[in-house]
């Protein structure tokens, strides 16, 4: 049973096509693994076994007639930021309570149209605001990786913590995730998985709960670069329902992997060598540089002068957009409602009880920087800094084809270790946030391990809509670093057959639910 959940998408696709395995077996193996592991990891909010088995049967029917769809039978996890038709969607916030959308997000619909199977909804930071999955209303998610010889629970990163943890622990073959300031790439680095944020506009944002509209992008979390290429080709699409969706054909990213990297020019930005960077991160970076040289690529020192201003500018732009994007959560049309003395009281009580501390902090910062008298001093200035950040990259890409940097300033840290000081937590995204601000594609690929045996990732950044080069370059790192290793499955209780009704894992019951 465990062997099936270890397959990559590419391998499973092949064996399904050859009818060596059935979609149903593959799905049940995953449902069983989830049952055994989720108590310890809390990666899934809940599984959807009936739906998964139905979808697997449909895939098997098509596969039997050799009319298999590209992703037929492949079991995936879905970050709870994506609205899933008639399946509870909460963005891990109390304020959405028992919200069951009557619509499916474009990204997930694309995957189901390609025959993929939905295993369930994955844990995340509330409204995707966080870098450790600790702000989730449904308790933190735990990283499958641990420091050697210790059983202290580590964070899987965020905000797509559940997605990363599930993929690393073989509870899903791949998972959908989202990235506003690093929320795919940072958890990928912390869990030894591959995570790509495509160019802004590549994936539709329709039906994806909004955090910061000008920064949010969907992307896959997988165990190999090839799997990421396969998933991205299907998640991405031009969507007339999203005015910021790029009207560009989506290439077959898997094919791009065949091209060699000889002569590829790789940029090394000196500003990313931040003071206080640990020796092991420095060594990891140098290792990556050597691998590229060995593969025949050229290394160029480049400069991205406004790098250090990206994070503070991000923490003006993202909260500003979030404060407006989250105004719709008012207890009137869906989700939690706490009554107050009057309509204003109802708003204030509902939003005070419904939002967690980090979400409130960002809404208030965002409201402040947009409020009378501060708009020019903060918001306009941040948007101008953003132009400068983008210009830095445009200049750099005249000289190089891709940029190599560390993905995170440190390996995974312990749950609770950094949740005291908001800014210390924000610094987790220092290498990733520049990519969102400039709207560029960026990938995190496993490249090695810390002395404590924790996975570390390297980041590759590409030109707008040039995901092909980013994936190709990432393949060089993966080939050199070796395939993703699986952490010791300490989280598995005795294997029990999949129970018929996948009851949701224990979760904090949202406060008194109203009749709907």
């Amino acid at each position: 049973m465990g062997e099936l959940t270890g397959l990559t998408i590419a391998e499973a696709r092949e064996r399904l096509r050859k009818k060596e395995i059935t979609a149903r077996e593959l799905t049940e193996a995953h449902l069983c693994a989830i049952e055994a592991a989720n108590g310890a990891l809390n990666a899934y909010l809940f599984a959807t076994p009936e739906k998964a088995i139905d979808m697997a049967k449909a895939s098997d029917a098509r596969l039997a007639k050799c009319e298999g769809l590209p992703l037929d039978g492949l079991p995936l996890g879905v970050k709870d930021l994506f609205c899933t038709k008639d399946v509870r969607t909460t963005a891990c916030s109390a304020i959405l309570d028992d919200f069951k959308p009557v619509y499916e997000s474009t990204v997930t619909q694309n995957l189901w149209d390609a025959g993929a199977v939905m295993l369930g909804k994955l844990n995340m930071d509330e409204f995707a605001m966080g870098s450790s999955n600790e702000t989730s209303h449904f308790k933190p998610c735990v990283n499958p990786w641990r420091v050697e010889g210790s059983d202290k629970p580590l964070v899987p990163g965020g905000s797509s913590g559940g997605s990363a943890s599930a993929v690393a622990a073989r509870l899903a073959m791949a998972a959908t995730a989202s990235d506003t300031g690093g929320s795919i790439r940072q958890p990928a680095a912390f869990t030894g998985t591959v995570g790509i944020k495509p160019t802004y506009g590549r994936c539709s944002r329709w039906g994806m709960v909004a955090f910061a509209s000008s920064l949010d992008q969907a992307g896959p979390l997988t165990r190999t670069v090839r799997d990421a290429a396969i998933m991205l080709s299907h998640m991405a699409s031009h969507d007339p329902k999203d005015s910021t969706s790029a009207d560009k054909p989506v290439p077959d990213f898997e094919k791009a992997l065949a091209k060699k990297v000889k002569g590829l020019k790789i940029g090394i930005p000196k500003e990313y060598r931040i003071d206080g960077m640990s020796a092991e991160i420095e060594a990891l970076w140098q290792q990556g540089i050597d691998w590229f040289k060995a593969a025949g690529a050229q290394i160029h020192e480049i400069s991205l002068p406004h790098t250090k201003y990206a994070l503070p500018a991000y923490y003006i732009v993202a909260p500003a957009e979030a404060s407006s994007n989250l105004a719709r959560y008012d207890g009137v049309r869906y989700g939690l409602r706490i009554n107050g003395r009057d309509i204003t009281g109802m708003y204030e009580e509902t939003r005070s009880e419904g939002f967690g501390a980090e979400v409130k902090r960002r809404i208030l910062i965002g409201t402040y920087v947009l409020s009378a008298g501060y708009y020019d001093a903060y918001y306009i200035k941040a948007q101008k800094v953003r132009t400068l950040i983008r210009r830095d990259f445009e200049d750099a890409f005249r000289a190089v084809d891709a940029i190599l940097t560390p993905a995170t300033p440190s390996p995974a840290f312990a749950i609770g270790e950094k949740s005291g000081d908001p800014i210390e937590m924000y610094l987790n995204d220092i290498f990733t946030v520049t990519v969102n601000m400039a709207g560029l594609p960026g990938i995190s690929v496993p490249a090695g391990f810390s002395q404590d045996g924790l996975p570390l990732g390297l980041q590759l950044i590409g030109r707008p809509f040039d995901e092909e080069t980013v994936l190709r370059a990432a393949q060089v790192i993966e080939d050199a670093a070796g395939p993703a290793r699986m952490p010791e499955p300490w989280w598995r209780v005795a294997e029990s057959p999949p129970s018929k009704t996948g009851k949701p894992p224990k979760k904090a019951k949202a406060s008194a639910k109203k009749s709907s």
């Binding site: 969607t89 105004a327 009378a372």
Partner: protein, 408 residues
């Protein structure tokens, strides 16, 4: 543009004459099939929340896509107001909380509206003609509607109108009396109907005005203005201005000061009353909507629309005066409504225009009013009326007989 003070516009207060300064923000609902940023219908009426899409109801993850026809209608309106068309405009979010505003923000245009400065020429009954400056026109979403009389403790929210396209037409404070304001709104409605960009139907709320009123001693600096929101008939606009002017004069003459606030006009009492408690001046935190991109038009696109404009009221009136030797007054009455003007032109073919005009504005309009019918379903066709008048002028029958024939 300096506005000369007309004696008849002054209001006599205890301490002498006062001048009223009025500016209007008219909200005109764009004539279109579907809403500004969603595919739901704009049809008036309908079951509660039936003309509502997931976007209009601000469901999580919903995104706006702009309606091309509404953009075209806004440009058409701008051209009809002889205004500058801004080839680059931006949609901003106006953030505030209200139950009939589901997103918690209204998509509007703040610093970069689609239409710039224009002008409306207004003719008063006594022949006085003056110009009202148009500061700007922008596109924005309408809000939904709340019913407060359905339940003791609850208001009922219907989002049918939420997201319908509105054009906000902002005038300069060039109006000096209730009558001038009423004449301005009437002329504006005529222009919009000629253009086909708004049906001007105030009962259905597709045309309504926010009236800004302040008073001052002639020649003194501008006083503090109050805004009277959502006045939805031309008659009420007049009443609201008079009531508000009197209220302000009363306060000032007792040595008080006017505090800037939003008020409502109550037709039952004929007075205005303060609307929201002024806990804090509204801070709408405008910023460009990140779900949209700037709207960029080409000069060719604008010129293409310009070619499709109909003959507008001012031009038609001038032509009627020139070709039919009608008095400005008669010409003005006829062009006030496009259908009336077209009817008249058919009647007047090859006839004495003055006679035709008298018959149309006098006898026909009188009969139509009695029957409560519009010109479109007049029992007498323009051609028949033309033949009847022809018989009079050729002396076959006298005017009096013609009147009897007409009454049958």
């Amino acid at each position: 543009m300096t506005i000369q003070t007309r004696q008849e516009n002054l209001i006599d207060g205890a301490t002498g004459p006062w001048e009223v300064i009025i500016g209007l923000e008219v909200h005109a609902q764009v004539s279109s099939n579907s809403k500004l940023f969603s595919g739901a219908s704009t049809e008036f009426g309908g079951e509660p929340n039936s003309h509502v899409s997931l976007v209009d109801a601000a469901m999580p993850g919903m995104l706006p896509v702009i309606n091309e026809h509404c953009v075209r209608q806004a440009v058409r309106t701008g051209l009809g107001l002889k205004a500058a068309i801004n080839l680059y405009s931006v949609f901003d979010r106006k953030n505030y909380f209200y139950p009939d505003l589901p997103q918690g923000y209204q998509i509007s245009q703040y610093k970069h509206p689609i239409v710039g400065e224009g002008v409306v020429t207004v003719d008063m009954k006594d022949g006085y003609t003056f110009e009202v400056g148009i500061e700007r026109v922008h596109l924005e979403q309408d809000a939904g509607k709340s019913l407060h009389d359905q339940h003791a403790d609850y208001s009922f929210v219907d989002l049918n109108r939420s997201g319908v396209a509105l054009m906000e037409i902002v005038s300069r404070p060039d109006l000096r009396s209730a009558e001038e304001a009423k004449a301005y709104v009437t002329k504006l409605r005529t222009i919009l109907r000629y253009l086909g960009t708004c049906d001007g139907n105030m009962e259905q709320g597709s045309l309504r005005a926010d009236v800004n009123v302040s008073v001052r001693k002639p020649g003194a600096p501008l006083g503090t203005r109050c805004e009277i929101k959502n006045v939805n008939s031309i008659r009420f606009i007049g009443q609201a201005i008079d009531a508000e002017a009197r209220r302000q004069i009363g306060i000032l003459e007792e040595g008080g000061t006017i505090s800037q606030e939003t008020r409502l006009f109550d037709p039952k009492t004929g007075q205005t009353r303060s609307m929201r408690s002024k806990e804090e001046a509204h801070d709408y935190r405008y910023f460009p909507d990140p779900d949209l991109l700037p709207l960029e038009l080409t000069q060719g696109y604008v010129e293409g629309i310009e070619k499709t404009l109909p003959e507008l009221p001012d031009a038609k009136k001038a032509r009627f005066i020139r070709d039919f030797a009608l008095s400005p007054y008669d010409a003005g009455v006829l062009v006030a409504d496009k259908e009336n003007a077209d009817y008249f032109e058919t009647v007047a073919k090859g006839l004495d225009a003055k006679l035709a005009s008298n018959w149309v504005t006098g006898d026909l309009f009188g009969a139509l009013n009695r029957l409560g019918r519009g010109i479109e379903d007049s029992p007498v066709s323009a051609e028949h009326l033309g033949e009847l008048i022809d018989l009079i002028s050729t002396g076959v029958i006298s005017g009096r007989i013609a009147k009897d024939v007409f009454e049958i």
